[in-house]
Structure formats: structure tokens, C-alpha cells
């Protein structure tokens, strides 16, 4: 019985998915109950913080880190569901199916948070990805959505195939797929070259999810093509799964050369993402490129390899989730007919919707890493933890990238605050404003008072290595 409780958050989501499945069979489109259900899920995941244990022959571990990422998953899912309830580009009859796949994808993320065995990780990753492949093209008659979906799927299939191939190398040279045992093995290039090669390939499938350069080609097209609501989900949630697995893998403290390769990719990713974001007009596409830059940032904490670094990376995942959800939330609200938002649409937002403008400003400054936002604290922790571990050059590049990125983030704020409005007031419900404000406040709050969350995450990371 106790084992069932350990599996609580997953069982609860499975239950939600089952109801959605029944609804889709019954052709019912009443899904307004869903946000309440996932909101309850947030509490279930918080409640589960106090458990820890191992399930399914040691392939599935419940610890602070996994439960924290489950909490983030539920948090993100709730906001994504709330966000997409008024999805205008989704036909009525497939509503239940839409949420069914969103739920399945999140279920995969829950599994990913706890998986500590390579095949389990692989299966969880596939569950997340395949559900998402189905979600992306669900935008009324829009060829761009199909294009994004196809790109996403082909790249994804290739990346996961390579990942599986890498697993075979690990298995062949180490004779085990348990991370805990792999952790104690030697990870020197001279002794375990084949395994490192395998690990590198396995990593690729996650770097792809994280849209790290040069595995990023799908992401701007995906965001631009899919509906605002789906983009919100696709831009934020899969990153969580990739992050938790990468944190677990980085705790293996692999060979320096592998880290060096990661570091170089991170540097390229930041610079490249920021440079391309500079010239974007479509806000979603802009955020797509900014995601690529942020993927590079998160890697900073991983290459440092210290507990502080991993804790900082986990913190940044949280920051990333909140900031992006806030930015996408505003975009979705602005888009009254479900169309893509360009920079011009932001003009005069401060006068039309002061709250939304504030949230957009908080999110932009947060993504740019300007204090006092959670983006700054996260960036600061990452830079501090990476300095002095052979990656000082990467820290300097990361810091300089702030200056590069500021232009396009600042542009969002400037347009929202300075121009006179061209359109009339938007029709936005009180609840939407409230959620937006909560997100904006969270961005500032965790920027000023990150202490509790950070120390919790460092405690969580400490559990990873015995």
C-alpha cells in the first residue's frame, strides 16, 4: 500500500487521463473541470515531497529532485490547461483528445523525473515526445502547424534513435543500465571510451529536447507554426523532463572532454540563439530563439558538475518555467483570434492592459537576467557555480550574452510601454489577469527571496550522489 502512495502523483494523472479518454469516446467536450483537477494535482505533488523510496526493481526513484520536478510539471500543466481552455484554433469536437495528449505528455514527464534506469528514461521520453507530436498540428487548417509538427517529429525520431543506439554502447561496455551503478563506475576516457561515446549519444536525445545548438532547428518553426496554446506547452514542459535527466546524468561526473563539448555547444547556443532572436518580428519565434539561448545557459550548471551547479541548474529550470509561462500567457491573451503576435501588436499594451504589460516586462527582464527577477538570481547562481571549474571562458561568454540579449527583450518592453495604443481595449477576463499577476509577482518574489527554494534544491541534489 505504501508503494501505491509513492506513486501517487502518477496515479492521479493517470486517473485524469482515463476520464479524458472516456470523454473522448463519448464525444463529450466538457473539459472545464480539468484545471481544478490539475490544480489539485499540484497539492498532491507537494504532499508527496515527504516520501522517498524506490519502485519497480530499482528503476524508479522517488526523491526530492523527482518530486520537485513533478510539482513543476503539475504547475506547468495547470497553467497550460488554463491557458488553452479558450483555444480558438482548436475545433470543438477534439477538445477531450487535445487534453488527453497533453496529459499523456505530462505523464511522461512525471516518469522522467523519477526514472533512474536508462530504458525507463527512454520509454518515458518517448511517451512525452509522441504525445507532443500529435498535439502540434492541432491548429485549424494551418499548414505552418503541420510543417512544424513534421520537422519536430523527424528530428525527434532521429535524435531518439541515436539515443537508443548510444544506450547499446553503454550496455555493452558497462553491462548495466542503472544510473546508481553507472555512477560508481569509472568514467575516464581511457577506461570507458565506448561507454562515454554511448552516453554522449544518449545525451543527444535530451539536448534535442532542450533545443541546444546544433539540435535546435525544429524549435522556432514549431513555436511559430503551432497554436499559441500548444507553443506554451511545447516551449516549457519538455524542457523540464530534459533538465531533470541531464541533472541526474551530470551527477555521473563524466569525462572532462565530454563536458568541454557540452560547454562549447552551450556557448554556441547562447550566442547563436540571441543573435537570431535580434531580427525576429514574430514574438513566438523570438521566444523560440531565446529558448535556444537559455538552453545554453542551463548547461553552465551542468558542466560545473558541482552540487551547487546542479542545484543552480534545477533552480534555473524553475525560473525558466515561470518566466516563459508568463510571457506565453500574455501572448495568448493578446491574440484574440488565435493568430500569431508580432512585435507591432504589443504597441501601447501598458495603456490597454497595464497588468499584462507589467507581467510582460517582468518576464522580459527576467529572461534577460536583469535584477530583481528570478531570471537574474538563476543566472547569478549558474555563473557563480561555474566559475573556477575550468569553464571561466564560458562564464564570460554567458555574461556577455546578457548584453546581446537585452536588445530584443528591451524591445518588447519598450513597445509595450512607450507607443500609443492603436487598438481598443482587449476583452480579458478577471481570472486571466489574476493568473498573469501571480506569475509576474512570482518572477519578482523568487528574484528577491530565492533562499528557501535554492537550499531545498541543493538538498535535493545532495541526495543524488551517495
Amino acid at each position: 500500500m505504501e508503494k501505491v502512495i509513492l506513486f501517487g502523483p502518477e496515479i492521479y494523472l493517470l486517473f485524469i487521463i482515463f476520464i479524458l479518454f472516456v470523454q473522448s469516446l463519448a464525444k463529450s467536450t466538457k473539459v472545464n473541470w480539468l484545471p481544478y483537477a490539475t490544480f489539485l494535482g499540484i497539492f498532491i505533488s507537494i504532499f508527496s515531497f515527504k516520501f522517498n523510496g524506490v519502485l519497480f526493481l530499482g528503476t524508479y526513484k522517488i526523491d526530492f529532485l523527482s518530486q520537485f520536478f513533478k510539482f513543476l510539471t503539475y504547475l506547468g500543466l495547470t497553467l497550460c490547461v488554463l491557458n488553452s481552455l479558450k483555444n480558438k484554433t482548436l475545433s470543438q469536437e477534439i477538445r477531450a483528445e487535445y487534453y488527453l495528449f497533453m496529459g499523456l505528455s505530462s505523464l511522461g514527464l512525471l516518469f522522467l523525473s523519477s526514472a533512474v534506469e536508462i530504458f525507463t528514461i527512454y520509454i518515458a521520453l518517448e511517451l512525452t515526445s509522441y504525445s507532443l507530436y500529435v498535439l502540434v498540428p492541432l491548429r485549424n487548417q494551418d499548414p505552418r502547424a503541420v510543417e512544424g509538427a513534421v520537422k519536430y517529429m523527424f528530428y525527434g525520431a532521429l535524435a531518439t534513435a541515436l539515443g537508443l543506439y548510444g544506450v547499446s554502447y553503454i550496455l555493452a561496455s558497462k553491462h548495466t543500465t542503472y544510473l546508481a551503478i553507472l555512477l560508481q563506475e569509472s568514467w575516464k576516457w581511457s577506461e570507458a571510451g565506448l561507454a562515454i561515446l554511448g552516453l554522449g549519444m544518449f545525451l543527444l536525445s535530451f539536448l534535442y529536447k532542450l533545443s541546444l545548438f546544433p539540435f535546435h532547428f525544429w524549435s522556432p518553426d514549431l513555436y511559430e507554426g503551432s497554436s499559441n496554446e500548444t507553443a506554451t506547452f511545447a516551449a516549457t514542459m519538455p524542457k523540464l523532463g530534459a533538465m531533470v535527466v541531464l541533472i541526474r546524468l551530470a551527477a555521473l561526473s563524466p569525462d572532462f572532454n565530454l563536458k568541454l563539448a557540452l560547454g562549447i555547444m552551450a556557448a554556441l547556443s547562447m550566442t547563436f540563439g540571441n543573435l537570431l532572436a535580434l531580427v525576429q518580428r514574430d514574438v513566438k519565434r523570438l521566444l523560440g530563439y531565446s529558448t535556444i539561448a537559455h538552453a545554453g545557459f542551463i548547461i553552465l550548471g551542468l558542466v560545473a558538475g558541482t552540487k551547487l551547479g546542479l542545484g543552480a541548474a534545477a533552480f534555473y529550470s524553475f525560473a525558466y518555467l515561470v518566466m516563459n509561462l508568463a510571457a506565453f500567457w500574455v501572448i495568448t491573451l493578446l491574440s484574440q483570434k488565435g493568430e500569431n503576435i508580432t512585435l507591432e501588436d504589443l504597441k501601447g499594451l501598458a495603456q490597454r492592459e497595464p497588468f499584462l504589460a507589467f507581467v510582460l516586462a517582468a518576464a522580459s527582464f527576467g529572461l534577460a537576467g536583469i535584477p530583481p527577477t528570478v531570471g537574474f538570481s538563476g543566472k547569478f547562481f549558474l555563473l557563480t557555480s561555474a566559475w573556477g571549474h575550468g569553464f571561466n571562458w564560458l562564464v564570460i561568454i554567458a555574461a556577455l550574452n546578457t548584453a546581446l540579449a537585452i536588445f530584443y527583450y528591451l524591445n518588447l518592453v519598450r513597445l509595450a510601454y512607450t507607443k500609443e495604443p492603436e487598438e481598443k481595449r482587449l476583452d480579458i477576463s478577471l481570472n486571466s489577469r489574476l493568473v498573469a499577476c501571480l506569475l509576474g509577482v512570482a518572477i519578482v518574489f523568487f528574484g528577491l527571496i530565492p533562499q528557501n527554494l535554492l537550499s531545498f534544491l541543493i538538498k535535493a541534489v545532495n541526495q543524488l550522489t551517495p
Binding site: 557563480t384 566559475w387 555574461a399 556577455l400 528591451l410 519598450r414 510601454y417 512607450t418 537550499s455
Partner: protein
């Protein structure tokens, strides 16, 4: 360690909190009155600061609370002789800024005053933070309200000016963050007092100095990093210009004294020739360019470059007089240039032009206005009896006592100041009136914000003793470290010989 009465925290957080009240105000008039009241309350809050102990180099009014333990970051505040006067100046300027924007700002009044209050919070925070991370947070956070001040209420080229301002200053401070992190890992703490007690190896100081100096030089701004300043000044609304000139620029020179001289003394000595060269270039270049300006605001902006050149020159002389002069000059420039920007704002409200040619011959119709303009212009060109004379004289004494050639190069800079300010003054007072006939002279509100500054000009000019006394102990403490370095180098030279 915590004081019973957290005066510095109150100074930072009171303006921040009062913005929450403003959020719910609907009427513009109410917003203005409330902000004015808040700014007077802020002055009252600052009163306990007058208990500042003269002649002590220690940090006073300290507050200490653990903040982010994993990285040993603390909420640590305090003032000493270097920052004390700047805090007072910032607090004093807030009500004056509200008054000088009373009729100037007509659109989005509420947001404007919120930005002003946020600016004040952040500026005070920069000067009183004794933890590097806390300092950096205020340092960067201050960019946001300033950016909005220029971008929303600015002139025709506000887009260009605001973005240029933001990117320039941010680009400078990205490496500052890296330097602070490096200091933390080398020194084991983000606490400024603790780091000040340490000696770092020269090679480390070399890089840290470069990273910090870039950030501060852009903020000051020193030639050749000055190009953002005229653009920002010309486009910013009056209150924005005042804050920019009086407080923001001082953060750069404050950073030089506190961080560069304090944490990296050896590198400061090593790089002093470069910094002195750039200071001289700023003085001469700023003066020459100011001479050719037609726009009053632009002229004063370039004169700022020259004045700040004197400040940095004084700093890198590494002697008591030079540093005294530098800090005096920081204060003086804040008072005088702030007042001049207010005056330009006042005449702009009448003539709707900042061109000198449109504002000729004011002396006949606006005698009170011209009186103040004359006083502050004289102060700007360091006329004896005004505050700037004390500052500039001290800097020059410091310079000559160290090196006569440098002093001789700086002298033409002082002359240039007389040339461009007197030219401006002469045209404004006695030129052929073009449209001045219908202008009204200063009203009560304008008197109210000019008189305090005028009193300060004369007070600091005639009796600078008290101000100098507040800073002497802290300056000497900073200089001790520098002298140690110089002594060491001399010893090495002797051995080599």
C-alpha cells in the same frame, strides 16, 4: 550588529512601498501631491543620518541579515564618508524632482512618479549596499526605471536614446558581475568590508580592475565611452536629466573609489596613467565640444563629461586633496548641473525650445530666472565662492602636488568651462530678445526647488569644512592601502637599482 532603527532600509524601502499607494490613485493632481508628501517623509526618515560620526572610517548605521546562505550573500547595508553625502544628495533631490516635473509632465503622470520613486530606492541602494550582490542588484535594477523615464517621457529621439543608454550601461556591467563572482571565489565572501581587508595577487587584481573599470568608466562616463550621455540627457525629461546627472553618474566615480581603489589598489596604481590620460581627454574633449553646442541641454551634458573628468582625475591622484576634491566635485556637479537642468526645463516650458538662439535676452524679462542661471553658471565654471571652486581647486592642488605636467594640461579644461558657460550666460542674459517678452518670471514652485540648491552652492563654496570632515577618515583609510602598494614598488625599484 543590527541597529535598533533601520534607517537605511527605511530609506530604500519607503519609496518602494509608497508606489503601491500611488497605484490606486486616479487623479494626476493627487499623485503629484502624494509623491511630494512621500518625498518629504523620506527627508524626515533621513534625519537620523545626521548623527553620523565624523572622523570615523568605519561603516555606520550598519544593518546585517543573512539572505542567500548557499552563496553566503547577506543583506548588508552601511554608510561611510564616501557614500554618506551621496545618500543625502539623493534624498534631497527627490522632492525637487517632483516639483520641477509638476507641470512639465502631463501624460501618464502616475507612472512617471512611480518611476521617480523606484529610481530613488535603487540609487540609495547602490550607495549603501555593502554586499557585492546586493550592490549589483541595485546597480542594474536602477536601469529599468531610468530606461522608462527616457523611453516614455523623452523627446523626439527617445527610442534611440533610451535603448542606447540601456545597452551601453548593461554591456559595461556584464563583466562587472563576472568580476564580483571572481572576487567572491578568491576572497571567500561577497561582503565588501571583508574583501576590503584582503590583499589579492597582482595578476588577479589586473583582470578584476579592468572588468570593473569598464563598467564604471561607462557609467561616469569617461571619454571614449561617453557617447550615450548627450543622447540620454537631451531626450530625457527634466527630472530624468537631473537624476541622471546628479546621482547616476556619481555611481561610476563612487565605484572607482570604493571598488577599484579599495579592492584592487595595486592594479589601480598600475593603470593610473591610463585613467589619468582618459580623464584629461574627457576634460579637454568635453569642454571643446560643449563650446560648439547650440542646444542648452546638450551643452550642459558635454560640460558634465568635462566635470566628471575632473572627478576621475582627482581619484587617480591617490592623495588626500585629490580625493577630497573628487568627492566634493561629485557633490557639486550633482547640485550645480542638476540645477542647470532644472533651469533649462523651466525655460523650455516657456519657449518650447532648448536652442540658445530661441532664448536670447531673458535678463530683461526674467530677472529672477537669470539670477539663478547666473549663480549656477558661475558655480559650473568654478568661480571662487561657489562650491565647484572648492572641488576643482582641491583636485588641481592634488594634481600639481603629484605631477606638474598633468596639472598644466588640466588647467585649459578649467578655462574652457569659463568659455562655454560665459558664452551661454551672456547670450541668455543680454542677447537680443526674440520671444522672451511674454514669458513670466519664476513662480513660487520654481523658487521652491531652486533656492535649496542655491543655498547649497554658497554654503559648500564658503564653508566646505564640514563636508570635507565627513569624508577625510574614509579617504585616508583607502589611501593607506594604496600607499602600501606604492611603497612596495619603490622598494622593488631600489633593489633593482
Amino acid at each position: 550588529m543590527t541597529n535598533t532603527w533601520p534607517v537605511l532600509s527605511l530609506l530604500i524601502f519607503f519609496p518602494l512601498m509608497s508606489t503601491l499607494i500611488l497605484l490606486f490613485c486616479k487623479k494626476d493632481k493627487l499623485v503629484r501631491v502624494l509623491t511630494l508628501i512621500f518625498s518629504f517623509i523620506e527627508l524626515v526618515i533621513a534625519l537620523p543620518l545626521l548623527k553620523f560620526k565624523l572622523g570615523s572610517a568605519a561603516f555606520q548605521f550598519e544593518e546585517f541579515r543573512p539572505w542567500i546562505e548557499a552563496f553566503k550573500i547577506n543583506y548588508h547595508l552601511g554608510v561611510d564618508g564616501l557614500s554618506y553625502l551621496m545618500v543625502l544628495l539623493t534624498v534631497l533631490l527627490l522632492p525637487l524632482c517632483v516639483l520641477c516635473s509638476w507641470t512639465y509632465i502631463q501624460k501618464r503622470v502616475k507612472e512617471f512618479h512611480i518611476c521617480l520613486l523606484l529610481m530613488t530606492s535603487a540609487c540609495i541602494g547602490v550607495f549603501v549596499a555593502l554586499d557585492l550582490v546586493l550592490f549589483y542588484i541595485f546597480w542594474e535594477a536602477m536601469l529599468i526605471p531610468m530606461f522608462l523615464l527616457i523611453a516614455i517621457w523623452g523627446g523626439p529621439r527617445k527610442k534611440y536614446a533610451s535603448i542606447k543608454f540601456f545597452i551601453y550601461t548593461l554591456a559595461g556591467s556584464t563583466l562587472l558581475l563576472v568580476a564580483l563572482i571572481a572576487l567572491y571565489l578568491k576572497g571567500g565572501s561577497f561582503s565588501l568590508p571583508r574583501l576590503l581587508a584582503l590583499d589579492f595577487p597582482f595578476k588577479f587584481q589586473y583582470w578584476v580592475f579592468l572588468a570593473m573599470a569598464l563598467a564604471f568608466a561607462i557609467k561616469v562616463p569617461m571619454f571614449p565611452f561617453h557617447t550615450w550621455l548627450p543622447a540620454a540627457h537631451v531626450e530625457a525629461p527634466t527630472a530624468g536629466s537631473v537624476l541622471l546627472a546628479s546621482v547616476l553618474l556619481k555611481m561610476g566615480t563612487y565605484g572607482f573609489i570604493r571598488f577599484c581603489l579599495g579592492l584592487t589598489p595595486a592594479a589601480s596604481v598600475y593603470f593610473a596613467p591610463l585613467m589619468i590620460g582618459l580623464s584629461l581627454a574627457s576634460i579637454i574633449y568635453g569642454g571643446l565640444v560643449a563650446l560648439g553646442q547650440k542646444d542648452m541641454k546638450r551643452l550642459i551634458a558635454y560640460s558634465s563629461v568635462a566635470h566628471m573628468g575632473f572627478v576621475t582625475l582627482g581619484i587617480f591622484m591617490f592623495n588626500l586633496r585629490g580625493l577630497e576634491g573628487a568627492i566634493m566635485q561629485m557633490l557639486n556637479h550633482g547640485i550645480t548641473t542638476g540645477a542647470l537642468f532644472m533651469l533649462v526645463g523651466a525655460i523650455y516650458e516657456r519657449s518650447h525650445s532648448r536652442e540658445i538662439a530661441d532664448n536670447l535676452g531673458l535678463g530683461k524679462y526674467l530677472p529672477a530666472y537669470m539670477f539663478f542661471f547666473g549663480l549656477f553658471s558661475l558655480s559650473s565654471l568654478a568661480f571662487p565662492g561657489t562650491n565647484s571652486f572648492v572641488g576643482e581647486a582641491l583636485v588641481l592642488i592634488g594634481t600639481f602636488s603629484k605631477n606638474k605636467v598633468i596639472g598644466l594640461v588640466a588647467i585649459p579644461g578649467a578655462l574652457l568651462a569659463a568659455a562655454y558657460m560665459l558664452r551661454l550666460l551672456q547670450k541668455l542674459a543680454w542677447g537680443e530678445p526674440s520671444k522672451a517678452k511674454n514669458f513670466k518670471d519664476l513662480n513660487l514652485r520654481e523658487w521652491a526647488y531652486l533656492v535649496p540648491l542655491a543655498i547649497l552652492v554658497l554654503y559648500l563654496g564658503l564653508a566646505p569644512r564640514l563636508a570635507l570632515k565627513t569624508m577625510d577618515a574614509s579617504i585616508n583609510k583607502t589611501l593607506v592601502k594604496i600607499e602600501k602598494v606604492v611603497q612596495k614598488e619603490k622598494n622593488i625599484d631600489l633593489v633593482l637599482k
